[in-house]
Symmetry: C2
Subunit: 164 residues, 2 copies
Amino acid sequence: MRDIARAMEMEAASLYNHIDSKQSILNALLMDIANRFTVGMQQIQSSSLTALEQLEALIDQHVDMTVGYTDAISLVPSEWIHLEEPHLKEFVTLRKNYEDAFKAVILAAIEEGSIAEVDVDVALFSTLSTLRWLYSWYTKQGIKVELLKKELKRTLLQGLISSL
Amino acid sequence: MRDIARAMEMEAASLYNHIDSKQSILNALLMDIANRFTVGMQQIQSSSLTALEQLEALIDQHVDMTVGYTDAISLVPSEWIHLEEPHLKEFVTLRKNYEDAFKAVILAAIEEGSIAEVDVDVALFSTLSTLRWLYSWYTKQGIKVELLKKELKRTLLQGLISSL
DNA sequence: GTCTATACGCTGATAGAC
DNA sequence: GTCTATCAGCGTATAGAC
């Protein structure tokens, strides 16, 4: 709280005229991120895109969110564990729904024949691992957003070996 | 420290007859992991395997380490930041050397023609993101180690689209 | 080598003046 | 709405008895 206060150029005690508690800040940031991903998923699901195009749109969404909300998104991999109930359950539910929806898109892409019959759980885990850690990596690179999207789609969807 | 003491069935104060500080525990665990990965990389580098086979061996190594040292390896993604000097610099150097060596293997695989001419930095980041987060995922799955190795190599090296 | 008692810095948060 | 003063709890670590 003292770090935040310094950044706001006030004393730590003054923060409490604007927020209830440290917990409420964590909750507000994480819920905002979770809701944005949830809405984005719904938009992609209800689109007329093919399953493969939906996968590409999901990757693009993660890149856009990472660039647009880098600080808040850095809380997602590890800090969510410090949420208190009932917010913890709420966050975990939103995340589970998102993962299930993501998995369904992968399955649909297999069914439509646009990707191979991979192990869906391994594919989901691998893809989300990369997308969730993106925030810690992309700032160190000078890479442009559009190039990043293109290369990530290539790496995640086509792998290293394929396009020979 | 009180959590550790409870697991050891003693009082927190009694721990200090066995260790210097909490910091020294973190350092011992992280250095052990870093050294094991460093030795493994050296063995793979000095082998007569092709670059593609070396990539596969690196993935296998991460799976073996994750299964064999799950608790200690869980410190690698985020907790290393709490190391104090000079241990922090030491750890970061070992990690940088490991990443450089990993990148060199990817480059060698491109040069030998066994993988496509991908963006090496994106490929390294994506691969390591998945392998470093493996600890948090594999225990929830009932998946066998050998199957996990096979599916990870497929997903990371061949991607989703390729093997149609 | 374990215990009890305790020191002491840090942190989230509150009280009350202005 | 900001400040100063302050509190209470926690967490690492030490002292010293046994």
